[in-house]
């Protein structure tokens, strides 16, 4: 079946199976590699993308449900985006596997609350797991991006 949506502002049209997830088709057919599969059950946050502005686990969203939506990934932000810069400046990662998901989730938080409290940041990023344990630096990066 055909699915059409906006990907980082550009229209795309993909041929998908009804039981495939958005994550599968983004990686296979749309050249999006920032969203990664790690747990595959919506727990880890490594595949976080924005669907109509809302952070979503691409591994739990069946691709046909993205039809007509605005999908945004870390690729759409670019190196000069304030959140991307803040993560680099704060060294808010070690291996970097979780970083795109963290950045996308942080972007959504800052769009909703431009000056979040630490509690709000923790709450918004709860469910984005970093197995290197870079949480302290990640918190710092989001504070930096908010400032």
């Amino acid at each position: 079946m055909r699915v059409r949506f906006a990907l980082n502002g550009e229209p795309v049209e993909l041929d998908v199976r009804a039981d495939e997830t958005l994550l599968t088709v983004l990686r296979r057919d749309a050249g999006i590699l920032s969203a990664r599969e790690s747990c595959g059950i919506g727990v880890c946050g490594a595949c976080t993308v924005l669907v109509d502005g809302r952070p979503t686990s691409a591994c739990l969203l069946l691709a046909p449900l993205a039809d007509g939506a605005e999908v945004a990934t870390a690729e759409g932000l670019g190196p000069d985006h304030p959140v991307v810069r803040a993560f680099a400046e704060a060294h808010a990662f070690q291996c970097g596997f979780c970083t795109p998901g963290m950045i996308v989730a942080a972007t959504a938080l800052l769009a909703e609350s431009p000056s979040p409290s630490d509690a709000q940041i923790r709450h918004a990023l709860a469910g984005n797991l970093c197995r290197c344990g870079s949480y302290v630096k990640i918190l710092e990066a989001v504070r930096r991006a908010a400032a």
Partner: protein, 267 residues
């Protein structure tokens, strides 16, 4: 390679009910799809046909009045953040707001979490404690099912194959609390959940996540203090053993958490 399921996406409830009446045995209704996508990813189900409710705008509303009316396609995050729900049914906003992560709450729906009947989900116990009813529609008619009777066991409900949950109606309570006891840091599902609600002289205590369906024992709540009722619940429940805790551990936690919920309810 197995055949891809057919994708049906009706834009009206009538159309969806007609499709279910015709193909209820093979068409699997799909709401937010968090649960079904996880099952599909793991190849645990191979449906012939998926019936998406996503295009039925009429199912997404949240309305208040004497009772709270949550549309089946209202998302957890909408319930959590709704000023109407926070003001009039704060324990409902809380129970939906502690589910998983913001990502899952952006996708998972009110109707979906009830129809899945996953024992480790948060909202069912709270909805039971408040005496909420699910409104089920089919092409043949409509009926209201108390949430307590809707969930019959692990992933089992009393819904017929031609029925869809279209709305959940939640009465007001004088006070209600939801307590979520977690034992795992990585997944945010409860080991033991306790929902309690007081309306006039009646107190309802429901324990979730410990057995196939929410556990409610009205006769155990009629007298006695909080600690005594906690002990009675611990005695009455035969808890499941899973990765979040053994049966014996859960019994001890049930006694403590029921007591705490009742103490909180009294404040």
């Amino acid at each position: 390679m197995r055949a891809a399921p057919e994708w049906l996406a009706p834009s009206s409830l009538e159309e969806a009910l007609a499709l279910l009446a015709e193909r209820g045995d093979e068409a699997l209704p799909l709401a937010g799809g968090t649960f079904l996508a996880a099952l599909l990813n793991q190849r645990l189900i191979e449906p012939a046909c998926l019936l998406s409710l996503a295009r039925i705008a009429a199912l997404g509303g949240i309305e208040g009045g004497e009772e709270l009316r949550l549309g089946a396609m209202a998302r957890h995050r909408d319930v959590e953040l709704s000023p109407l729900v926070r003001e009039g049914w704060p324990a409902v906003a809380r129970a939906f707001g502690v589910v998983a992560s913001p990502r899952v709450r952006n996708q998972a729906t009110v109707g979906g979490v009830l129809a899945d009947a996953d024992y480790a989900s948060d909202p069912p116990a709270m909805l039971c404690a408040l005496g909420a009813r699910a409104v089920a529609r089919s092409a043949a008619g409509v009926r209201e099912i108390p949430v307590e009777e809707l969930i019959t066991g692990y992933y089992e409900t009393s819904l017929r194959p031609d029925e869809l949950i279209v709305e959940v109606r939640v009465p007001r309570a004088d006070r209600a609390v939801y307590r979520k006891f977690r034992t795992r840091s990585h997944e945010d599902r409860p080991c033991v959940a306790v929902a309690a609600a007081r309306r006039g002289a009646e107190t309802r205590v429901v324990v979730g996540a410990v057995a196939g369906r929410p556990q409610h024992f009205p006769e155990l709540c009629r007298d006695g203090d909080a600690a005594e009722i906690g002990r009675r619940y611990a005695d009455a429940i035969e808890p499941i053993a899973d990765v979040r805790g053994s049966a014996a551990y859960r019994k001890r936690v049930i006694a403590v958490e029921v007591r705490r919920a009742l103490e909180e309810l009294a404040t």
